[in-house]
């Protein structure tokens, strides 16, 4: 069971995550969109959407910092564990609450605004459940752990385990040591990563950073839009080669 949860699931999930995105991008560029519902309703969206999105961006940054930077590195720079912990917990709690409040507003809006609700697909609903579950599990680890008083130092268990996955030597026992809260959160996260490419979450990867550097007006030749791949074994019709040079008709 431990091998399944902490070795097989992560690798399958990562493979699906990467492969799924490549496949989706090739197969379904048209479906790759935020599918914004702002046209239907914007009062609640104006509140909820920035809260959620900025919140989750901070959450992502926090995870990058917490999971990828080893405790030894912060120690070496002279940041004490207690200081790090205080900062991480407070920032994490703030951004976690932001995110959850935001998504609560968004889901309320989705359910109560008629047009928005009828534009919600089953895929969306499934994704929302998974996303909220992951968020709740994550935030409760941060908050509950500290309320009880003896928080688990995930930087000595979950973080090295996460990094070990990428060394292809998954440290399963580190994960089994972590609390049940962390185990739930991590498992949910792996599932979320696996379904990610098949939901509207793909729009995360179209963050339009190129906008900052490209020229304002884009010109494109008609040719680019028109060209499409030639089928295998199919040769375009070309004029036969003339036996002798003919005078070309003068162009108008």
């Amino acid at each position: 069971m431990t091998t399944f949860l902490w070795v097989i699931v992560p690798y399958v999930s990562l493979a699906v995550f990467v492969g799924g995105h490549i496949w989706r991008y090739r197969y379904d560029k048209f479906g790759w969109t935020t599918r914004s519902s702002q046209l239907y309703e914007s009062r609640l969206l104006r509140l909820g959407s920035p809260l959620f999105h900025f919140g989750i961006l901070f959450v992502v940054l926090g995870h990058i910092g917490g999971l990828l930077i080893p405790e030894s590195a912060t120690d070496a720079v002279g940041i004490s564990e207690t200081f790090y912990h205080a900062v991480a917990v407070s920032l994490g709690a703030i951004s976690g609450v932001m995110t959850l409040t935001g998504i609560a507003i968004l889901i309320y809006r989705r359910r109560t605004t008629g047009p928005v609700f009828s534009a919600t697909t089953k895929n969306d609903k499934f994704m929302y459940v998974l996303l909220v579950a992951t968020l709740v599990a994550g935030l409760s680890n941060t908050v509950l752990g500290n309320l009880i008083g003896h928080p688990h130092d995930y930087r000595l268990s979950v973080a090295p385990y996460f990094r070990s996955i990428f060394y292809f030597r998954p440290a399963v026992d580190l994960m089994t040591q972590a609390g049940i809260g962390f185990q739930i959160h991590v498992t949910l996260a792996w599932i979320l990563f696996a379904v990610w490419p098949f939901t509207r979450l793909v729009h995360f990867f179209s963050a339009p950073l190129g906008y900052l550097t490209r020229p304002y007006i884009v010109y494109r030749s008609r040719e680019a839009a028109v060209a499409r791949p030639v089928r295998r074994g199919w040769e375009p019709v070309t004029a036969p080669v003339a036996p002798q040079p003919r005078r070309r008709r003068a162009q108008r």
């Binding site: 935020t34 914004s36 900025f54 047009p115 895929n123 190129g210 906008y211 884009v218």
Partner: protein
């Protein structure tokens, strides 16, 4: 000098009778789909009026187009790149669906299935967004023919710019129609607003298009366009806009709106312009100079120097020839009777308008004057300041002189041609008074009054053979043979129409085939996506509209 070619249009507002045929045929061709029920690539507005979407011209509120910074640099009115990215999660300047209108259909089934009852059953309006009962309160032309004025008309942003007295008199004296499509601007602010870079201007013909595969639904283009001619498809989550019917234009036939125009008031042709000077012209400090600045960007196709440069820029000879015969070039620069719509938005729009003289003519006739007499006409143009001021707010950023000149030219033509038609001696002084030669006035008359199909539409075909992949690209002519085959319509697993894209012609082919061969429409099981009569093409039975076929005895052939 960098010569580029632009497909452009001129509309003669004198001839528009507000029949909406252009809008309806455009809708049939392009927006009769779920998700764009509320979208009219072509719409016809009554002026004065609020327009569609409501009060879109109020840029204080919607922040569309460009503005000049204090240092004279051109910048997007809604804010630059960083501000765009900062507000990407919720665009504060996006019009709501109610600013367009909530699309609806009627519950016709009720009429047919209602039991015997004392009161006549009613087909209630049902929202096409939520499927619920709704109260119809607005539409794309709710204030058509000044309906609802003066309560509604006072909200016209243009009318707000003119004085109170003018405003009150206006409604009594003046009304005209303004058909609008995308302006296919030389300096498109929608393209500049797109974070994904999905909106592009085609180098060959200047048509502005949305790449549906690159659009990610950030909605900034809707804000960026001051004419509000980019729309958000709420099902697919992608931006859509007028395409200038490029599949038709490429094979040399006019857009659907122009083709079906009852008044034959649209002209389509090529205009050559200097791409290097566009930014300078758009940055002209005074709004009222923008009209002339834009005209100075256009290049005279009869000038040998321009022709040489055009050849160097790779513009095919038949395109240069088409530019020489272009009715659009003639109306804008030779006869100078066409004006751009809202040049003060600084997008360099390329659908121009001949302002209507008819209000003056009507006013003269109604007051017992000779409406064809040039002195009476010139006098009326000067005396009837109200319409001139209003037209100037639309076409010249408020400068009445160009409008006055155009109207005088149209009036002069009227008076001059009356003499010709009545066999009276010609009066060259009329032509002289409006700054045209007698030949020019007759040519202009021919173009405005008599011009046949091939004079109104001078459209050179696209040049496939210049591309490497010659022979494969005639999408209209051939080719249902593209990779990965058709997955016609319907909902993919990731939302509306997800999955590989297909060429337009293929999509049309399958859509038509499906309609013609099946008895069901869009999605009969889903009452939220009912058929409305606008998108029903008469093929097959629309179950929401008609009762089920009565069982016939025997195997009678269906007619």
């Amino acid at each position: 000098m960098r010569v580029m070619a632009q497909m452009a249009m001129v509309m003669n507002l004198d001839k528009c009778i507000g029949c909406h045929t252009c809008s309806v045929t455009c809708k049939q061709a392009w927006t009769n789909r779920t998700g764009v029920e509320y979208v009219w690539f072509n719409n016809v507005e009554t002026r004065p009026g609020q327009g569609y979407p409501r009060t879109y011209e109020d840029q204080g509120r919607w922040q569309g187009g460009w503005r000049l910074t204090r240092r004279g640099r051109l910048t997007l009115r809604a804010g630059g790149r960083l501000k765009k990215l900062a507000t990407i999660f919720s665009n504060p300047l996006l019009p709501n669906i109610s600013d367009y209108y909530e699309p609806w259909t009627y519950d016709y089934e009720r009429l047919l299935t209602a039991p015997t009852q004392r009161d006549t059953p009613v087909a209630r309006p049902k929202s096409l967004l939520s499927g619920r009962d709704m109260k119809v309160q607005w539409s794309a032309n709710w204030d058509d023919d000044l309906g609802g004025s003066p309560e509604l008309t006072v909200n016209d942003p243009i009318l707000k710019q003119v004085s109170e007295k003018v405003r009150l008199e206006f409604e009594k004296t003046f009304m005209f129609y303004l058909p609008r499509i995308c302006e296919h601007c030389l300096n498109p602010s929608c393209a500049a607003s797109c974070p994904s870079g999905a909106i592009y201007k085609r180098t060959e013909d200047g048509i502005v298009l949305v790449d549906q595969d690159r659009c990610r639904g950030w909605r900034m283009c809707v804000t960026g366009c001051p004419y509000k001619k980019v729309y958000f498809n709420h099902r697919t989550g992608k931006a859509e806009k007028c395409t200038f019917c490029y599949p038709r234009i490429e094979v040399g036939i006019p857009t659907v709106c122009a083709e079906t125009c009852v008044g034959r008031l649209r002209y389509i042709g090529v205009v050559l312009y200097d791409a290097d000077r566009v930014l300078d012209a758009a940055s002209t400090p005074d709004d009222q100079d923008l009209y002339m600045a834009q005209r100075s960007v256009f290049l005279d196709p009869d000038d040998p120097g321009v022709r040489r440069e055009a050849e160097r820029a790779g513009i095919p000879p038949d395109w240069v020839e088409a530019a020489q015969r272009s009715p659009v070039w003639a109306l804008i620069s030779k006869y100078q009777v066409a004006l751009p719509l809202h040049p003060e938005y600084r997008t360099m729009p390329m659908v121009w308008y001949i302002p209507p003289l008819s209000p003056m003519v009507d006013a003269l006739r109604d007051s017992g004057h000779d409406a064809e007499d040039e002195r009476a006409l010139f006098g009326a143009i000067d005396a009837l300041r109200i319409p001139v001021e209003y037209l100037a707010e639309l076409f010249t950023a408020g400068d009445p002189r160009p409008v006055r000149d155009v109207l005088a030219r149209l009036g002069g033509m009227r008076a001059y041609m009356r003499d010709v038609n009545l066999g009276a001696p010609r009066r060259p002084q009329i032509a002289e008074a409006v700054g045209l030669t007698e030949d020019e006035i007759e040519d202009m008359y021919r173009l405005l009054a008599l011009a046949k199909y091939d004079e109104r539409y001078v459209i050179p075909s696209a040049h496939g053979e210049m591309h490497d992949r010659a022979g494969e690209l005639e999408e209209l002519a051939c080719s249902l043979d593209y990779e990965s085959g058709p997955g016609m319509g319907g909902s993919g697993p990731f939302g509306e129409m997800s999955g590989g894209s297909q060429p337009v012609a293929v999509e049309n082919f399958y859509a038509l085939k499906q309609r013609q061969t099946s008895d069901v429409f869009v999605d009969p099981g889903n009452s939220r996506r009912r058929v409305n009569l606008l998108n029903w093409d008469g093929k097959g039975a629309a179950e929401d509209v008609m009762p089920p076929r009565a069982a016939t005895d025997g195997d009678r052939e269906e007619l």
